[in-house]
């Protein structure tokens, strides 16, 4: 049994209550959602918050709602809920792809989308997914609500735009016509963090050319999305050679570091290989939707 340093614990009863508690307990407090990153870090005494503000009773943050051309996902929506949602699977197959390879069922039953995005682990999958889906983050704080694009929200490894007194409440995914998306990860074992992963989302024009594309990479040091690859893709007809070109551009854009999961050149190779694969699959899915 690993034992964290002493801490105090309080359960928030509403969003406003959570915000008040954050204000009250200050910078040494941490919000507890699924707890699958925070609690292990506390047990290893790498994190030592004085207060845990548990938001697990905020069921008002656990929802998936279609609202015209936006899918609204409450920040406390569990991974399992995302994985099992037919709406999510149909509109954003990339989410299902990613959720199938996030940790294991035990973690997915507890972990939340909000927790994942706020933790901003460089090997975290949903940050990449949300970036390529051009998601928006809805944040509430003492001064009311603000909405940030994912590239504004996610500032780098373990860093977001969230202020200490704020709470991420909702993630909005824009629904697009003739779109497709996909995610693929290489891991050493089921449940391990990614060696590397890639996500792509495309929208096709009525003539079948790529109207818009987004390519993201996980765990290989890419800030934002692979914009050069995206530029290459736009306006072109989906083809193997085009995917290969985009793969090379994505690989060139990333900046992996060597670790136990692999050397730099392997990770760069994966960025290339996986980019091709997810583009192939995303375009296929977009085409299938168009035909359907």
């Amino acid at each position: 049994m690993q034992i964290p340093a002493a801490f105090d614990y309080v359960r928030a009863s509403s969003i406003d209550d959570a915000l008040a508690l954050l204000q009250q307990h200050g910078p040494e407090s941490r919000v507890l959602a699924g707890g699958h990153s925070l609690l292990p870090m506390m047990k290893l005494r790498l994190a030592r918050p004085e207060w845990l503000i548990d938001i697990n009773e905020l069921t008002e943050l656990d929802y998936i709602r279609r609202d015209a051309d936006v899918l609204r996902i409450g920040a406390m929506t569990r991974h399992t809920t995302l994985l099992e949602s037919p709406d999510v699977g149909r509109l954003f197959p990339i989410v299902r792809d990613a959720e199938q390879v996030i940790a294991d069922p035990v973690v997915r039953n507890r972990g939340t989308i909000g927790g994942s995005l706020c933790q901003a682990d460089p090997a975290e999958d949903l940050s990449t997914v949300c970036k390529v889906l051009r998601a928006e983050a809805v944040i509430r704080g003492p001064n009311g609500e603000r909405v940030l694009r994912m590239d504004e929200f996610h500032r780098g490894p373990y860093e977001t735009a969230l202020e200490q007194t704020e709470l991420l409440c909702e993630v909005r995914l824009p629904v697009r016509q003739r779109s497709g998306s996909a995610y693929e990860k290489v891991e050493r074992r089921v449940g391990d963090w990614a060696v590397a992963a890639a996500g792509a989302a495309v929208a096709l024009a009525p003539d079948g050319t790529i109207e818009d594309a987004a390519v993201g990479l996980t765990a290989v040091g890419l800030e934002g999305t692979a914009t050069e690859a995206e530029t290459l893709l736009r306006g072109k007809r989906p083809a193997e050679e085009l995917f290969a070109e985009a793969g090379r551009a994505a690989a060139a854009a990333c900046d992996p570091v060597a670790d136990q999961r692999g050397p730099v050149d392997y990770k760069r190779h994966l960025a290339d290989e996986l980019t091709r694969r997810v583009l192939r699959r995303a375009c296929g899915r977009a085409g299938a939707e168009r035909e359907g």
Binding site: I3, L44, R188, V190, D192, W193, V195, Q260
Partner: protein, 797 residues
């Protein structure tokens, strides 16, 4: 599964699934385990119990300058803080290891690996104990660490064990076995020779339950009751008596339910000793249970063998000789737990399953700034490394000769008529019939079809590999004349009592860690006495309740204790014969045995069952002279030889050419462990060992950085396989009984762990053959496989 019932239905039982004796029955211990009613070390709570925690070194190599415990001692809930200095006063700062070395219980002069024990805190609760560790201030004078075994013998390498007088380097031993001259001569004249360097990386058994102890010293009567996670309670008790000076009759060691051992729970760890010291100092029971990181970073690792293998053969594939040299990384203290005089344990079985003209090995052991251990993880005292070496080498030879690896093995097996077979390094293989097992595995696999499929896939650029391994295990240590642990011979005792109503209790010296002893040993008694297994209670793990013996590791329970139990049951049966004769008013020699009863030859109606005899033994019947009024017996079994189980394994993998990901698609395991007592338990053991094999072959490794930091200190970093990485196991068997074992059984606990890694690596290498790959080291992670595909496979250390 290839079969469900290999033993004919016993007419006495009526139900073939509930045999009186050997056969497939559910485990007697499982109802409590699956209902959460097991009683593990951490379930033990004694009145007034305190809790201990260990402060461990954050660095790999440093001189200990000072330790300030004042703040920790002042913590309101802390009852004692113990340092190495305190232990020096008790002459307990250093404890002997099982390999004639010493290990620091708490560091006194230097720390020698990251995670080494530095201080011990006893507090009112576990939380306070853990908090107090942070209040201890230790000043370290950092020294350069020796992390890589290859650098350990460099002239400028820092001397790790300067505590040993006169030591000027890091060499622990040089050991050799076999005939170097004869082997060199064979190599000189051979048509073909191949050589390959390979690493069996440092791995860890990682049992689900970590190690722990509850020590309860009674200051009034001087008695010590020690509950601990030990695979060898009797050996531990004797060692505590020898080391700590507590008289042996005052020590009771209790090993409760054990959540996995795999050799991790054979040795005596500092934590156990510290729990005892804590109890003596405070006069209260003290519990110490390590956390996962402590288990992974400080308790007995496995392997860490850097090997070079060579084979000499004829052009047409007759293997003539095997030669190997090994650099063995033993960590900071030589603490391998193994019973031979040979510092490499059973490694000299590297001749494998083949009839050789000559063989030779040399092993050099070195100290490094890493955790001690080396013999663990179901390795059968280093048979694992030996089998990996020879089975990898046979595939290297097959590639060189462009021969099918299964055919090459069939060509070289020791032939059935050669058994008992004396190999070139002094082992006498008891029995074997290798070719049928190999052919059965090929048949179950559909070997020819697989090779065809592989050829078609290669045409399309797909990477499919088929790996073969054939292993001979060496288990059941063993004859006292050859094997001992600190002078204690490797025998085991058994006591059997048949109660007046015909129910029985059998007491064992071995200790289950999940192997199913409560079922298997009841079945042996059932087979011998003809009373149902559910009527036989199996008692083990408590030195006050069981006869002396050396414990469970090295797959020795069935070969040694199984023999003891069969013999004690036969002793009871013989005694029952005389009592039955008295009951039937006839002569013992006129009686005949059928399972469960003695009857008069030629008059089957006139007989007495064991239950009837038991009642009479305790009743008013006038017993024959020399027959005690009970139906009890005890034996100590000293096996005449080891047993040599074997098996033929075939693995099929698919490798993703774009990512290097390996998928184990199929695994066919044909095992021969002699007489099969409970096929379900055997299959369970095989399934577990095969899963271990997937772990070692594909992902497991304890790595260190240049500063000596352990990079495998959590399950985030040290990966063990899940159900997702393993296929549906396909098992089969042949039966070649041991000629010297009372029931012909050989042991199965470690076969699959020993035999499966080379099959998987051989399959991966086979898949990568189109890239010209002839070898890659474990673990075959995606990155390392991809590097091999690029022509730059590198050793992991």
């Amino acid at each position: 599964m290839t079969t469900t019932h290999e033993h004919p239905a016993n007419p006495a039982a009526g139900d073939p699934d509930r045999p009186v004796g050997f056969g497939r029955i559910q485990r007697k211990e499982d109802p409590r385990f699956i209902r959460g009613k097991g009683r593990y070390i951490d379930d033990i709570v004694l009145p007034g119990m305190l809790h201990g925690a260990i402060l461990r070194s954050p660095v790999a190599h440093a001189r200990l300058v000072s330790i300030d415990i004042s703040a920790a001692a002042a913590h309101p809930k802390v009852k004692a803080v113990v340092t190495g200095k305190d232990l020096e006063g008790l002459k307990l700062a250093w404890a002997p290891t099982l390999s004639a070395d010493v290990q620091a219980v708490l560091a006194t002069d230097k720390v020698r690996f990251q995670g080494q024990e530095v201080a011990f805190v006893v507090a009112e609760d576990r939380y306070a104990a853990r908090d107090a560790l942070e209040l201890i201030e230790v000043e370290y004078d950092i020294l350069p660490p020796v992390v890589n075994a290859r650098r350990a013998l460099d002239a400028d390498a820092p001397v790790i064990r300067d505590d040993i007088e006169g030591r000027t380097d890091n060499r622990i031993f040089d050991w050799e076995m076999g005939d170097a001259g004869a082997t060199d001569a064979v190599f000189a004249r051979a048509d073909v020779t191949v050589a390959q360097e390979m690493v069996y990386p440092r791995v860890h058994p990682a049992p689900m339950e970590t190690c722990g102890a509850v020590a309860d010293f009674d200051p009034i009567d001087g008695g010590l009751t020690l509950y601990e996670t030990t695979q060898a309670p009797h050996a531990h008790r004797t060692l505590y008596a020898m080391v700590a000076g507590i008289p042996e009759h005052k020590i009771r060691v209790v090993s409760p339910d054990i959540g996995g051992g795999f050799g991790n729970k054979v040795g005596i760890y500092p934590g156990y000793i510290l729990a005892v010291v804590g109890s003596i100092l405070t006069g209260k029971p003290v519990k110490w249970v390590e956390d996962r990181s402590e288990n992974l970073m400080s308790t007995s690792f496995a392997r860490d063998y850097l090997m070079k293998g060579e084979i000499a053969a004829t052009r047409d594939g007759k293997i003539l000789a095997v030669r190997t040299s090994v650099l063995a990384d033993h960590g900071a203290f030589n603490a391998t737990a193994q019973p031979t005089k040979n510092p490499a344990g059973f490694f000299s079985i590297f001749t494998g399953s083949y009839d050789l003209e000559a063989a030779y090995c040399s092993v050099t052991g070195v100290y490094t700034n890493k955790a001690p251990g080396g013999v663990a993880y179901a390795c059968s005292f280093r048979v694992t490394e030996a089998v990996y070496l020879v089975e990898r080498m046979v595939d290297v030879l097959a590639a060189k000769l462009q021969m099918d690896p299964a055919e090459l093995r069939l060509k070289n097996f020791i032939r059935p008529e050669q058994f008992p077979y004396k190999n070139k390094t002094g082992w006498e293989y008891d029995s074997g019939n290798y070719a049928p097992a190999m052919r059965l595995s090929m048949q179950l696999a559909g070997y020819e079809d697989l090779r065809r499929e592989q050829a078609e896939k290669r045409e399309r650029g797909e990477l499919m590999g088929i790996g073969v391994s054939f292993f001979t295990e060496t288990v059941g240590a063993g004859p006292r004349k050859h094997f001992d642990i600190v002078g204690l011979g490797m025998a085991d005792g058994a006591e059997l009592r048949v109660h007046p109503t015909g129910k029985a209790v059998v007491r064992l010296s071995v200790q289950s860690q999940g192997q199913g002893h409560e079922t298997t040993f009841a079945q042996i008694v059932a087979e011998e006495l003809g009373i149902p297994p559910e009527d036989i209670d199996v008692v083990h793990g408590d030195t006050d309740q069981t006869p002396f013996g050396l414990g469970t590791y090295g797959s020795r329970s069935t070969p040694v204790s199984g023999g003891a139990v069969a013999l004690v049951a036969r002793k009871v049966r013989e005694k029952a014969k005389f009592i039955a004769a008295a009951m039937l008013e006839t002569r013992a020699e006129d009686l005949e045995w059928e399972k469960g009863r003695w009857f008069v030859k030629g008059d089957p109606g006139a007989g007495r069952t064991i239950a009837e005899i038991a009642l009479a033994a305790h009743g008013t019947l006038a017993l024959p002279e020399g027959i005690d009024g009970n139906l009890d017996a005890e034996v100590t079994y000293d096996p005449p030889n080891l047993t040599f189980p074997f098996g033929a394994y075939i693995c099929v993998v698919d490798v993703d050419p774009g990512t290097g990901r390996v998928k184990v698609r199929r695994f066919i395991a044909v095992d021969d462990c002699g007489t099969r007592i409970n096929p379900m338990i055997i299959e369970g053991q095989v399934h577990g060992g095969l899963t271990d094999g997937v772990g070692m072959a594909l992902m497991e490794i304890i790595e260190f950085d240049d500063d000596g930091n352990c990079l495998g200190g959590s399950f985030m970093d040290y990966l063990i396989p899940t159900a997702m990485e393993v296929p549906d196991w396909e098992t089969g068997f042949t039966v070649t009984p041991s000629p010297h074992h009372p029931i012909g059984a050989k042991g199965i606990g470690e076969s699959a762990t020993v035999g499966s890694p080379p099959a998987i690596v051989n399959a991966v290498v086979d898949a990568l053959a189109p890239f010209g790959v002839t070898h890659m080291d474990m673990p075959c992670t995606p990155a390392r496989v991809w590097e091999a595909m690029q022509g730059r496979a590198t050793p992991p250390v």
